[in-house]
């Protein structure tokens, strides 16, 4: 049976007040409980979206996991004060996450499934712990949180870089088509418009895809950590890390070795 936006809305209406409660809540334990409730309550959304993208050559289980990460990110980043309802914020966010997965999934050819899952788990745990601690977690904190040996965390973190090597040439100019949030950031953030880049860098920065430019600027001219940037642009810390590394390599290639 097809699900319309209307029935979906009513399906989640009872959860809306919890966002207001979460925004006002300062107790870490209570916050975690509210977050859990919100994530769990919105899980059918992940299911709907995963099903929409199935039959495109990716295993539905993978899509489901990516969509679940999307739900978690959306819950973490949603601000009820802005006046939009959660679904109109979350649906494009989650779809964006799934689309990015399709675009980046060239790595699935060579990376074993176990490591891909580990990567996703670490990726979402990093975001959750950042919320909790107010800073990025260390490998031992991730290990405790996920109840896995720290060696597996090392492995999962390194996989992110294996994946980077393969996607260097592929994430280029299509960055624009992605997140409307990222697209609007550069234009809306007056701080970014004021940045005084290094002379030789200016034309190269202008030629970067919006998303890469935003991330580069926030890290090297806005003094934000990768986790803070991840939260702001709605990507995982690992994804930000990858894009930053690719962008620096690219600039080094253009500026010559004496960057």
């Amino acid at each position: 049976m097809p699900t319309t936006e209307r029935t979906r809305s009513s399906e989640y209406d009872h959860l809306a007040p919890l966002f207001v409660e979460l925004a006002a809540c300062t107790d870490p334990g209570q916050r975690a409980a509210l977050r859990d409730k919100l994530v769990t309550g919105h899980l059918p959304l992940a299911e709907h979206i995963a099903v929409r993208f199935s039959n495109r050559g990716q295993p539905t289980d993978d899509l489901r996991q990516v969509a679940v990460v999307g739900v978690i990110n959306a819950v973490d980043r949603f601000d009820p004060e802005r006046g939009t309802d959660f679904l109109s914020f979350a649906i494009p966010t989650i779809m964006g996450e799934v689309r990015r997965y399709f675009r980046d999934s060239s790595w699935s050819i060579r990376v074993p499934r176990r490591l891909k899952e580990l990567h996703l788990e670490i990726s979402s745990a990093t975001g959750a712990l950042f919320q909790q601690l107010g800073r990025a977690p260390s490998p031992s904190e991730l290990a405790r949180h996920l109840d896995r040996p720290v060696e597996e965390i090392y492995e999962g973190l390194e996989v992110a870089n294996a994946y980077q090597a393969m996607s260097v040439d592929e994430s280029r100019e299509d960055g624009e088509s992605e997140s409307p949030l990222v697209r609007s950031l550069g234009a809306e953030d007056p701080e970014l418009a004021k940045v005084d880049y290094h002379e030789s860098l200016r034309p190269l920065v202008a030629a970067l895809p919006e998303r890469e430019r935003t991330i580069l600027t926030l890290r090297f001219y806005g003094n934000m950590t990768q986790s803070q940037i991840a939260e702001k642009v709605g990507l995982s810390q690992m994804h930000v890390s990858r894009l930053l590394s690719q962008t620096l390599q690219r600039l080094r290639g253009k500026l010559g070795p004496e960057m």
Partner: protein, 139 residues
């Protein structure tokens, strides 16, 4: 008896306390150095932000040294992990005695990613160029 946490800390300290690499001073050596940087940073249990920063910084340090190294020279890259943080120094015989430019974007990147960054020319016949960074533990 040692607790699990203490024991694993001891293991990682003995394993990663001091690592030194000798490689051709070529850009093709960077992936190896990056990999070692990440391993040392993970072993020191830095935050994932700091681990990623150190990878980028080490990439930059070595790129700067390689760019100013004499062709065919050898790059030495040393990692020293202490309770205070991780110190990385790279050196290679200099091509023409020049230091990296402190006004460059590359140097700005290094200063942003690390807590200390410096470059100098060593004594000795081939005036080795040294670039050294420190990433503190709590950042």
């Amino acid at each position: 008896m040692l607790s699990g946490g203490l024991r694993s800390m001891t293991v990682s300290e003995t394993a990663h306390n001091r690592v030194e690499l000798r490689l051709p001073a070529e850009f093709g050596s960077l992936p190896v150095v990056r990999g070692v940087a990440a391993t040392v940073a993970m072993g020191a249990d830095l935050t994932v932000d700091a681990i990623a920063d150190l990878r980028l910084a080490v990439d930059e340090v070595c790129s700067q040294v390689i760019a100013l190294a004499r062709p065919g020279a050898q790059l030495t890259c040393a990692f020293h992990s202490t309770a205070a943080g991780i110190r990385v120094s790279a050196a290679a015989p200099s091509k023409d005695g020049r230091l990296p430019s402190a006004d460059s974007f590359g140097w700005h990147v290094l200063r942003t990613l690390t807590d200390e960054a410096r470059a100098w020319l060593g004594d000795g016949e081939d005036h080795p160029l040294h670039v050294e960074i420190l990433k503190r533990n709590a950042s």
